[in-house]
């Protein structure tokens, strides 16, 4: 048996509830939560979709650390056969293990995380395909951050997000960095303006919890450093 404590409650508060879940081989933390919901506590709220690490909806705080639960084996994270599950930090709780992701994705919008085709200012699909050589430096810089699944683990792990309510956060800034390196994009200047300053990349202290905990192995801290570097050289009129 695994001894599981699950945070239950809503925006007004809550506490830990205790459940005993049968241990199985190759069991993931999401399997444990699903067992609780199907067999013990039908009204337990949590979120998942793909179960294979693609959709980014099942992230929770597992034994004090934000993780994607569908790809986290219980055997890797249980401490003395115990699990403590809480909703993602730094986001409002809707109920139990489900957080409101709207403030997270609102930051992507504020960081101008939407692609703006250079060839059509109104956002329509350009007539011709852009040719972007896979080996080019900018393409590789964009590729390094493009596999983000939007799970919010970096956001929940970031001290600056906790301390500064306006901070855009690692995921939104990582997204902005991929677009800054996208040679097809036409909103570079506006995007760099949007990610500068106390609420943007300059608030980051490079403590790198985001990079450490990203389940996809992305380096948002490096992306933020790239934004700082690009903005620095822009002061001198240099495009690097």
């Amino acid at each position: 048996m695994i001894e599981v404590q699950v945070w239950r409650g809503d925006a007004s508060g809550g506490g830990l509830a205790r459940y005993a879940v049968p241990a199985r081989a190759n069991q993931t933390v999401l399997d444990v939560v699903t067992h609780i919901q199907r067999e013990i506590e039908p009204d337990l709220a949590y979120r998942f979709a793909c179960r294979v690490g693609m959709c980014g909806s099942c992230a929770m705080v597992v034994n004090g650390r934000a993780r994607w639960t569908c790809r986290t084996h219980v055997s890797k994270v249980a401490q003395d056969g115990k699990l403590e599950l809480r909703p993602l930090s730094n986001l409002p709780v809707i109920r139990d293990l489900a957080t409101d992701m709207a403030p997270f994705f609102d930051r992507w919008a504020r960081a101008r995380g939407q692609f703006q085709p250079k060839d059509s200012a109104d956002g329509a699909v350009p007539d011709e395909f852009a040719v972007v050589p896979p080996a080019s430096a900018k393409r590789q810089a964009a590729d390094a951050g493009i596999e983000c699944i939007g799970c919010g683990v970096c956001h929940a792990s970031c001290d600056i997000v906790a301390w500064n309510p306006d901070y855009l956060g690692p995921a939104a800034l990582n997204r902005a960095w991929t677009l800054v390196n996208d040679v097809r994009d036409g909103a570079r200047r506006e995007r760099l303006d949007a990610v500068a300053g106390d609420a943007g990349c300059h608030a980051c202290h490079s403590t790198q919890s985001c990079t450490e905990r990203c389940p996809k192995g992305i380096d948002p801290s490096g992306a933020i450093a790239g934004l700082k570097r690009t903005l620095f050289w822009r002061v001198f009129g240099l495009d690097r």
Binding site: A196, H202, K228, F232
Partner: protein
């Protein structure tokens, strides 16, 4: 953005200035530390005056910018009023140091 550039630039200045400052202390006190010796080294020297004035300015700005970030994150001190206060604190800190450097130059 500007603050970040200033913070990085003053950090670079401080990295060199602190090393020079500490090395000078280590070398200078080998014969015992006395006010006369310090004044003998710094008094009337434009080069030392320029060095310590730059050092004090960099330290004042760097310290104020750093404290501003800490105060914003830990105490929630944000906004134009606090920013102006930090500018004043930074410049005041620098002014004290520069005044001391001028004092030694003129001594």
């Amino acid at each position: 953005m500007t603050l970040w550039v200033v913070q990085r630039a003053t950090a670079a200045v401080l990295a060199v200035a602190v090393v020079v400052h500490l090395a000078t202390i280590l070398v200078a006190v080998r014969g015992g530390l006395s006010a006369a010796e310090i004044i003998g080294r710094l008094g009337g020297s434009e080069a030392w005056l320029a060095f310590y004035a730059t050092f004090a300015l960099a330290a004042g700005l760097h310290g104020a910018i750093g404290l501003r970030a800490i105060a914003a994150e830990w105490l929630g001190w944000r906004g134009r009023g606090f920013d102006l206060a930090w500018v004043a604190i930074g410049l005041a800190t620098a002014a004290f140091g520069i005044r001391a450097a001028i004092g030694l130059y003129a001594a």
